[in-house]
């Protein structure tokens, strides 16, 4: 177990290093060099050369990469072009906001999906199963931006129950909590359809197993069958999928954050990419990859805990 953990950590460190190099190199090798990118496609060659020299970009890639790594290890992520502030300040602030949103959405979407998935998969083909499955397909197939605009039109514009944007300032008389309702709702609805389908499929599979039939035949009550025998086994396959949702909730919510003007990580990355704010893109990409790997890592361990057949 310890050996496995160490191996995984070493593997993660190596991946991060590789990704940091790739992102660094991609910014370099993507058509046009960095100075050309900053100045735009039609800048004169003299302007590009001047800026290249000014930024020290005329030195070998590896030298600059090692320097960059050195700065990162000292905790210096550079200066953001658009926010005119140290990258670290912007990044942690926005990431914190997104983690906050993601945590709430995760806390809602997981129990809700398990409940609905279990109810649907319990009796395959029942009216409840069809109803829940239809609902799941519907919410999963409406794009986030459409769902966001739709919910905002109904609850913010028409009914006036909720604020239309989530700037995380309580100035205009809307509490922070009320501001979180709509973005969380969009994330939950969008994400839930997929999770419910996964859990339902797994549940259906488990309910067909001989040990469930045995439990039912020996006279065990249905709730006991579900909770003692079916649920735990039905959760093994969806478990990794559930953890993968953290990825989406943290790094993939660009659309939700933009529609609701939420000052989060996704919107920050979008604006950084649009403005070619390279220092911010690099740091943000590293964080996103790190989160992806961390959830996978936790997934592996959790998998082993859930399934006694797996030893790590």
């Amino acid at each position: 177990m310890i050996r496995y953990l160490l191996k995984q950590l070493a593997y993660m460190a190596a991946t991060l290093l590789a990704v940091s190099f790739l992102v660094f190199a991609l910014n370099e090798f993507a058509p046009g060099d960095v100075a050309r990118k900053i100045l735009g496609a039609y800048a004169t060659q003299e302007q590009v050369d001047a800026l290249t020299a000014e930024l020290g970009l005329d030195r070998p890639l590896l030298v600059r990469y090692v320097e960059y790594l050195g700065r990162v290890f000292r905790g210096d992520l550079g200066e953001s072009l658009i926010y005119k502030a140290p990258v670290a300040d912007v990044l942690w602030d926005r990431l914190g906001n997104t983690l906050y949103l993601a945590a709430i959405a995760f806390a809602v979407v997981v129990p809700l999906s398990i409940m609905l998935g279990t109810l649907a998969g319990m009796r395959e083909g029942s009216i409840m199963d069809r109803g829940i499955s239809l609902f799941g397909v519907f919410v999963a197939s409406v794009p986030e931006f459409a769902m966001g605009v739709f919910l905002a039109s109904v609850f913010a514009v028409w009914l006036g129950w909720l604020p239309g944007t989530s700037q995380l300032t309580s100035g205009a008389g809307w509490s922070i909590a009320s501001q979180l309702v709509l973005p969380v709702a969009v994330m939950v609805l969008y994400d839930m359809g997929y999770l419910v389908a996964m859990i339902r499929a797994s549940m259906v599979e488990v309910m067909r197993q001989p040990y469930v039939r045995t439990a039912v035949l020996k006279g065990m009550s249905m709730p006991r069958v579900i909770f003692r025998h079916a649920l735990r086994n039905a959760m093994i396959a969806p478990f990794t999928v559930i953890l993968l949702q953290i990825n989406y909730l943290v790094a993939g919510v660009v659309v939700v954050e933009t529609v609701f003007a939420y000052p989060g990580f996704g919107r920050m990355m979008l604006e950084a990419a649009l403005a070619k704010d390279i220092a911010l893109i690099e740091a943000g990409a590293l964080v996103a990859v790190f989160i992806a790997m961390l959830t996978q890592f936790v997934g592996d361990i959790g998998y082993a805990a859930l399934d006694p057949r797996i030893r790590i």
Partner: protein, 562 residues
């Protein structure tokens, strides 16, 4: 009016008004330019024409309530270098804390601000600015001529990168060779004050501008938005807590998120009425702007996009504010192949149908454009024969220029404001018929502004300016920093300088007719539309008037208690 100090031009204006050569509005504007106070000018106009002037814009009928917070949805940009602002949004934030020497109102009339009154010499080369004596910086220091001299000199320093330089170049600056050579072996050129005494401190409250050439629009140029008056002790930097003579103090500044201002109670001018003013950054997504306004997370929007018009019209409790302007975007070409041939540039103008673009892209709100970048609302607008769409002529011009099979080009444009890509698409379709095959390179706005002066062919937003000569000086004078089309025409430059020195509108219009002719014949631009500018605000917002430059005057704003 006591006649002693009065500029001789004023009596000329009075004569013109009585002969109906100029309108009353134009009379007031021109008289104000020459140092007559606005109320006096309005009174003179009424006396001459015999009809009372309708209530003026700034005059407030009912007293405005004090107190309260107003939130405005607007991009919160970097504010650190006011003299180099190239965004009106940033200047709106700056305007809360800092003042200008003059102020151009929503009615296009320029009035004194930090300058109490001004005098121009008969040849319009010497302008004397008398400063207010009752202005104190927030830290208690007296505002004096030294502050003004420092600010004026700083914006004209090429290393600061202020767009004031282009406006003032002909008037106060001269070009010289720095003695250095660039990588190509060409001698580098720069600008400096043409005379050591060009910006003269006469006494503690008087500054004199001694110009090289006549300049008419000095007061209006002094309200060009980077011309904010900073505290010299802060060295040109601006941020939270920065000193200012203005109505508010910047208390919070988070770029991309929020800027908050707290009122000061000892402001020398009108207001402030609010306790607190906030700008809230809602990003570039118009859905967010509408939603925020609908749930009153903001009380008004800085300006509204044409794409949001129908949605905003349906929201209850809002008032639409609208004004006609010379706001536009121009498809401008750099002198590189194939645009280096003036017949090709003409072909673009003959291939464009302005009326159709206005309908398609701006729902008809505004006026069809003039391809010389002088708008009908400009006083010196000369109505010359416009270029009307003529596809056959456009084709012939291309063939003459050596492109009988048409040309393939690429236009860079940005997705915001929403009418711009619509206009580009409409024009590209129209051009197709004339054999101009144009690819659209749509790039994010921030990216566009990185390259706007560099792309060979681009569609660039141009703000409204009160005088036609101002846009021309910024965008088409040889060597001006914002001359994005690298346009250089000695005859144009000469006529422009001449027009800038003519007080008489009729005479100026004659020169403008020539300039406009040059632009239609040789110029680097297609100007499809003159936009009307509009926005929506909650009914409770008082004192707001849509300004043709989308300037917000925070000191005049108030909210009625709910």
């Amino acid at each position: 009016m006591s006649g002693t100090d009065q500029h001789p031009g004023v009596s000329e204006l009075q004569r013109q008004l009585s002969r109906k050569q100029i309108g009353r509005r134009e009379f007031v504007r021109m008289a104000a330019l020459l140092g007559v106070s606005a109320p006096a000018a309005y009174a003179m106009a009424s006396a001459i024409t015999g009809t009372p002037f309708a209530s003026t814009s700034f005059a407030q009928q009912t007293p405005k309530p004090r107190g309260g917070t107003l939130r405005i949805g607007m991009r919160c940009q970097d504010l650190s270098n006011p003299h180099a602002y190239s965004w009106i949004e940033a200047s709106n934030s700056g305007r809360a804390v800092l003042d200008y020497l003059t102020i151009t109102g929503p009615d296009n009339v320029t009035r004194p601000a930090l300058v109490e009154r001004w005098e121009a010499s008969p040849d319009l080369k010497t302008w004397t600015l008398h400063l207010r004596r009752d202005v104190k910086w927030r830290n208690g220091r007296q505002f004096t001529a030294d502050d003004v001299v420092w600010n004026l000199k700083r914006v004209l320093d090429p290393s600061v990168g202020s767009s004031m330089l282009g406006l003032m170049k002909g008037f106060l600056l001269e070009e010289f060779e720095t003695g250095e050579v660039d990588a190509k072996g060409q001698r580098k050129k720069s600008t400096r004050l043409w005379d050591a005494n060009a910006i003269e401190r006469v006494d503690a409250y008087t500054v004199r501008l001694n110009g090289r050439t006549p300049q008419l629009a000095v007061p209006e140029n002094l309200y060009h938005y980077p011309m904010l008056i900073l505290d010299p002790e802060e060295g040109g930097k601006f941020g939270v807590g920065s000193n200012g003579t203005g109505p508010f103090e910047l208390v919070e500044n988070e770029v991309g998120r929020r800027q908050a201002f707290r009122a000061r109670r000892d402001y020398w001018g009108d207001g402030p009425y609010l306790d607190q003013l906030e700008f809230i950054d809602l990003g570039d997504d118009s859905a967010a702007a509408i939603a925020a306004l609908a749930s009153r997370q903001v009380d008004m929007l800085y300006s509204a996009d044409i794409n949001t018009l129908s949605a905003l019209e349906k929201l209850p409790g809002l008032v639409m504010h609208k004004v006609d302007t010379s706001f536009t975007a121009v498809a401008r070409m750099k002198p590189v192949k194939p645009f280096d041939d003036r017949r090709v540039r003409q072909a673009f103008r003959y291939a464009t149908d302005n009326e159709a673009v206005l309908k398609i892209a701006h729902r008809g709100l505004g006026l069809p454009g003039d391809h010389h970048h002088v708008a009908p609302i400009h006083p010196e607008y000369a109505k010359i024969d416009p270029i009307r769409r003529d596809v056959a002529k456009a084709k012939a011009l291309l063939a003459e220029a050596g492109y009988p099979d048409g040309i393939d080009v690429e236009i860079a444009c940005k997705p915001q404001p929403g009418w711009e890509p619509a206009a580009v698409q409409a024009m590209v379709e129209q051009w197709k018929e004339a054999g101009i095959r144009c690819r659209i390179n749509m790039m994010p706005a921030t990216q566009y502004w990185e390259v706007w002066t560099k792309v060979p062919f681009g569609f660039t937003t141009w703000s409204h300016r009160p005088l036609g000569v101002m846009n021309l000086a910024l965008a088409y004078r040889t060597g001006a920093p914002w001359n994005e089309s690298s346009y250089s025409n000695p005859e144009f430059d000469r006529l422009l300088a001449e027009a800038e020195g003519l007080l008489d509108v009729e005479k100026r219009r004659e020169v403008m007719a020539k300039i406009e002719g040059i632009m239609l014949d040789d110029g680097p631009i297609v100007v499809p539309v003159w936009r009307a500018l509009f926005t929506f605000a909650d009914k409770k917002v008082l004192g707001f008037q849509m300004h043709p430059s989308a300037y917000i005057h925070p000191n005049t704003l108030a909210v009625s208690p709910a």
